[in-house]
């Protein structure tokens, strides 16, 4: 079928590839000359996504952001009936453990008993949820580049992938992938200028033939209550709405609500580009009393005011992006 479309001059060259992989040849035909390199990188990324879901492993890792170091153990495996199990234990500070069985993720906090369960097939907080999916979901707003062989990580050979945003409005990622298993061994999140904001480094990694033994009894443990959310959404109460976001950001939710801790009546917007999210809060300026400020970090925050409203933008994005979002807020165009 492919060969039908291909003109005669290209035919000889493409026939060879068609014999091996028709799909590859097709994307080759529609893509530019950079296709092979990015396809290779994409394959590396997709292999990592699969490894995170399918490997049986026992690992320890350290997460560092700023001067903060967080060691944890990370176990993952699959029961014989296909149910995925994951256990993350924080080793420093308050006793926090996360147990994920299939699509139910439970967060256990000790000694306070405010544990809860969420319906999610990704453990929130360790890696972006997008790392568990094929890279195609992140295109075209992100690109993945293979930078050849990486350095040794945790005593293993790696290859190095970079995830870059097409514009410079988002954070970039460096990924070191185990050449043998496809497992993610090290991750860096950095600003477009290259300043590393957060790192994750496995310190031990052992792949197992079958599920790690310590996971095999997880199924029996009691699960904390499920968190449910009211589906009812209040209509927005302030006229000011975001008018500009970096390309690819889609509105996930918008509602009016009182913020949990402060009871500030707030119009709330949540946007996502598939890899990262940004929250926009609009409230009355008098009630909020924050100065104009911007903080850049693994999670940035920007606060400003417009007319009588305070605007606060929060997200894993450069503070300049948040500032641009906040400064482009305006009264919503009347519906026509």
């Amino acid at each position: 079928m492919v060969t039908k479309f291909v003109s005669g001059s290209l035919l000889s060259g493409l026939l060879v590839m068609t014999a091996f992989s028709p799909v590859y040849a097709q994307s080759q035909a529609s893509n530019s000359a950079t296709a092979p390199a990015s396809t290779l990188a994409e394959q590396g990324f997709n292999e990592m996504a699969r490894a995170l879901r399918e490997l049986n492993f026992e690992a320890t890792l350290v997460r560092s952001s700023g001067t903060r170091l967080e060691p944890m153990t990370w176990l993952h495996g699959t029961y014989s009936d296909g149910l995925e199990a994951e256990l993350i234990v924080m080793l420093n500070g308050p006793d926090t453990r996360i147990v994920r069985l299939g699509e139910d993720t439970s967060y256990y906090f000790q000694p306070t008993d405010d544990s809860y369960t969420l319906r999610s097939d990704v453990t929130y907080g360790l890696l972006p949820a997008a790392f568990y999916q094929n890279f195609a979901a992140l295109q075209p707003h992100y690109q993945v580049r293979a930078a050849g062989r990486g350095v040794r990580v945790t005593g293993r050979e790696t290859h190095y992938l970079r995830i870059l945003s097409s514009d410079n409005d988002r954070y970039h990622y460096g990924l070191w992938i185990d050449s043998e298993s496809g497992m993610l061994l090290k991750m860096q999140m950095m600003t477009p200028q290259g300043e590393v904001l957060e790192q994750l480094q496995l310190t031990t990694f052992q792949e197992r033939e079958s599920m790690p033994i310590s996971l095999s009894d997880l199924r029996g443990i009691p699960r904390p209550p499920r968190l449910h959310e009211l589906r009812q959404r209040q209509p927005l109460q302030f006229s000011i709405q975001p008018q500009w976001l970096p390309s690819g950001f889609k509105l996930l939710r918008q509602t009016h609500r009182n913020l949990a801790a402060t009871r500030l009546p707030t119009d709330y917007f949540l946007f996502s580009d598939g890899l990262t999210e940004v929250s926009v809060y609009v409230t009355e300026r008098e009630a909020q009393s924050l100065p104009e400020l911007g903080l850049q970090g693994p999670e940035s925050i920007y606060n400003t005011s417009l007319q009588n409203h305070a605007i606060t933008v929060v997200g894993k994005l450069p503070v300049a992006t948040l500032q641009r979002i906040a400064e482009n807020m305006a009264a919503a165009a009347p519906e026509q």
Partner: protein
């Protein structure tokens, strides 16, 4: 079993150990050592024989009979259960060294940018649910980009708390949104037919 420990058993039997601590120690040894217990039984029997008190009907060792009796008794029916399976939970979820600070306190302590005094845990408002199960935000990598006037300590603390609430709320919303997406995806995948299985190649080139 050494000669010395036989001596100890003998002394214990004759009530010849006067130091209370030493006696307790000897009893402990006796209770944990079956050899010593047998020795005790033999010595006691010898003592009774010498005092002509021994009787052939008396069982030589009643410990086996007691153990059998205990085994026959039914298991206790009324056991007080902890909250939310805490006992079982702890078996799995207890780490090597647990630290007794509330998660909320740790979260509040995160935003100590130019903080000189530690935040009083009593004042911290506990979030409805903890939002950064893995880690939080690093205070040090924050740089204040714009800061108009010079606020007081109290104002600064209040501002930090407010900023923190925004970060907490953002993380709560992300988790809820993750769950909402999962639930929506399920509804979709239930209603979708198998036609979706055919791979679609969309050109992202230009």
């Amino acid at each position: 079993m050494t000669d010395r420990s036989y001596e100890q058993v003998s002394a214990l039997l004759d009530d010849a150990v006067h130091d209370a601590r030493e006696q307790a120690q000897h009893i402990d040894t006796l209770l944990s050592d079956t050899d010593a217990q047998q020795a005790w039984g033999r010595y006691a029997l010898m003592g009774r024989i010498m005092k002509n008190e021994a009787s052939a009907q008396q069982p030589l060792d009643i410990s086996a009979a007691v153990a059998a009796q205990v085994a026959q008794e039914s298991a206790p029916t009324q056991v007080v259960q902890g909250r939310f399976g805490k006992q079982r939970l702890q078996r799995w979820l207890r780490p090597a060294g647990s630290v007794a600070i509330a998660a909320s306190v740790a979260l509040v302590a995160v935003l100590t940018v130019q903080q000189t005094q530690p935040i009083d845990p009593e004042q911290s408002v506990e979030p409805a649910f903890a939002t950064t199960p893995i880690g939080g935000r690093s205070p040090v990598s924050y740089n204040t980009v714009l800061q108009s006037s010079e606020p007081t300590q109290a104002e600064l603390a209040q501002q930090r708390r407010l900023l923190q609430f925004y970060l907490l709320d953002h993380n709560q919303q992300l988790q809820l949104s993750l769950q909402a997406q999962q639930l929506d995806e399920q509804i979709q995948s239930e209603s979708e037919t198998l036609s979706d299985e055919t791979p679609q190649r969309v050109s992202n080139g230009n």
